[in-house]
């Protein structure tokens, strides 16, 4: 059912456009830098930490998670752009299956997102982290898996919106809460019970936790990972399967 040529066309198209738009590339790297150094830098002065890590080191896996979150969601909602500017019709009238289009969008969004996450990852020496080469590779692979699940969520969201006026709605009601309630900025253990339970339902929580498992290697007390890596991966994989399925169904029905 999944035609590789369709995945290739969608990815090649996305990638070409990504490389041509230098401003998009630069601005998407500016966001994690601002958050890491301006928000994280400020907070690290007043937030006490546990164990041997600094607040910036704690925040670092969350920043990678944030990079993945924003880039993946933006890539996925390019579906709304394609609907508005017509290219979607070109794909829909071609002899290709709908699930191929959905998977193509998920793959292309994940590749772009992984590249950005990798660029951010290489800031690790700046904040005093030490990562082995296997850990770096593992982080990149994890980034791809997390990107895939977030992109599939983005596709599901995108099928429900008609125009990019809905963009701020998606940002304020989905993307930002997903970021704040993912354990990226503060350990889940310290959250009030209601927020903690919402965070447990957030797929990004397990993505960020997986990254903490790999990146935070020193003793970190209550600020380390909450779950074992295998559990994080299982939840992320299950979420991906679920959202690709729901996304394809919604796509079939609505587009």
């Amino acid at each position: 059912m999944i035609e590789l040529r369709v995945v290739y066309v969608i990815s090649a198209r996305e990638f070409k456009k990504f490389l041509r738009e230098k401003s998009r590339l630069i601005s998407s790297l500016a966001r994690p830098l601002l958050w890491l150094f301006l928000v994280g830098g400020g907070l690290s002065r007043i937030v006490p930490t546990e164990g041997n890590i600094t607040y910036l080191q704690f925040f670092f896996p969350g920043i990678i998670g944030m990079t993945i979150l924003f880039t993946s969601i933006f890539s996925a909602i390019s579906i709304i752009w394609d609907k508005e500017f017509g290219y979607m019709k070109e794909m829909l009238v071609a002899p290709v299956s709908r699930v191929s289009i959905v998977v193509g969008k998920a793959v292309s969004g994940s590749v772009v997102s992984t590249i950005q996450a990798t660029v951010v990852l290489f800031l690790f020496p700046v904040i005093g982290l030490k990562l082995s080469i296997p850990s770096i590779f593992l982080t990149i692979i994890l980034s791809f898996i997390i990107s895939f699940s977030i992109t599939s969520i983005g596709i599901l969201i995108a099928t429900f919106y008609e125009s990019f006026e809905s963009f701020s709605v998606i940002m304020n009601f989905i993307v930002m809460p997903m970021f704040f309630l993912s354990g990226a900025m503060y350990p889940l253990k310290k959250l009030p019970p209601l927020f903690k339970w919402i965070a447990y339902l957030n797929p990004l929580t397990y993505g960020v936790d997986a990254l903490k498992n790999v990146i935070i290697t020193t003793e970190a007390g209550g600020m380390g990972a909450d779950f074992p890596l295998s559990f994080d991966l299982a939840v992320v994989a299950a979420a991906t399967a679920l959202f690709i399925l729901l996304g394809t169904m919604a796509f079939n029905k609505r587009i």
Partner: protein
């Protein structure tokens, strides 16, 4: 041989009949024109034939395949140029066509050749590496036509291909389009609401409010209006009218200072007319009916209503509904 065959096709949107029991056949290698005012049901019909919409009832067969049950085969047999632009403006002309070729399963070894051929055919080869956003409106349209024929479809659908183009670009586009049936062996199914553009069609169906109200070749349709009109000015209109009635058994009328006669073939009738009236004739002109006259006679209105009426509001509601709910 028919390459499109439609019978009793109906499509309802929320109780509104956008297409209401439409039947027609399109012969291979011809240009078939689907004419009607905005909102008459043209785009809905094209969407069903392209398998983007499911009909409420009736059948549509394209290139021998059923649009409802064999949509993949139908899609491989057709090329479509939609009313709204569907190019990717941030890619080059060549990339747009290349990705199209891959989506339509053109063999890898042939891709480059078919893409270049299509670009050359539409006279865009020199600009193949330019981003589409730098193209003029007319060039974008030509590029869309080029893209639609890259995979050598049997049938090409053109939905209002000249909408929004200036007259020069329109003529230019038609020059390319009318060469397609002979040079590329495709059958063309087009919609337009510019009546004069429909003259290039071998066969026309006129649709209004979801129903086909007339069909035939442009000449046949024009004959239904009653043929050509000859306008005469003479030294004595009353006397001339009598001569025409008695000697030529034609019907005529005096209107203002002119005399007009409706005949089936104006040009063939003129020599005899001049012989009969001799030196009485001061001036004469023959006017052939246009397709617009055909539409006017059939529906009692011009094809392009300038004012918003109740029907327009219904059409707008149909469009809004289609955008919101009905996607298949």
């Amino acid at each position: 041989m028919s390459v499109i065959s439609v019978s009793s096709l109906t499509k309802h949107f929320n109780g509104i009949k956008a297409v209401d029991g439409v039947s027609f056949e399109v012969r291979e290698g011809t240009i078939f024109g689907f004419l009607g005012p905005n909102g008459a049901g043209k785009t809905t019909t094209i969407s069903i034939l392209c398998t983007l919409l499911k009909p409420t009832s009736g059948t549509a067969i394209v290139n021998g395949y059923n649009c409802l049950t064999e949509s993949a085969q139908v899609r491989s047999s057709i090329g479509v140029v939609f009313q709204d632009m569907t190019l990717d403006k941030d890619l080059t002309a060549y990339e747009n066509l290349l990705y199209h070729a891959i989506l339509y399963n053109v063999e890898k070894s042939k891709r480059e050749r078919v893409v270049n051929d299509a670009l050359k055919f539409m006279d865009l080869y020199e600009r193949k590496d330019d981003l589409v956003k730098r193209f003029s409106g007319g060039m974008k349209r030509r590029l869309e036509v080029a893209r639609a024929v890259v995979h050598q479809p049997r049938i090409l659908f053109l939905d209002e291909p000249t909408l929004g183009l200036d007259p020069q670009s329109r003529n230019n586009l038609w020059e390319f389009i009318t060469r397609l049936p002979n040079e590329k062996g495709v059958t063309i199914f087009m919609t337009t609401h510019y009546m004069e553009e429909a003259e290039v069609c071998q066969e026309i169906a006129i649709i209004d409010r979801g129903k086909i109200i007339a069909s035939g070749s442009p000449d046949e349709l024009k004959k239904t209006v009653g043929g050509d009109v000859i306008y005469l000015r003479t030294t004595d209109n009353e006397k001339a009218l009598r001569i025409i009635r008695e000697e030529m058994s034609l019907k005529g009328k005096v209107s203002g200072d002119e005399l007009f006669i409706t005949v089936s073939r104006g040009d063939a009738c003129l020599p005899e007319l001049i012989r009969q009236l001799g030196e009485m004739v001061k001036s004469v002109r023959v006017q052939r009916p246009t397709l617009n006259d055909v539409f006017l006679t059939l529906t009692g209105k011009e094809i392009r209503p300038e004012t918003v009426d109740a029907a327009d509001e219904v059409r707008e509601a149909v469009r809004a509904y289609r955008r919101r709910f009905d996607r298949t």
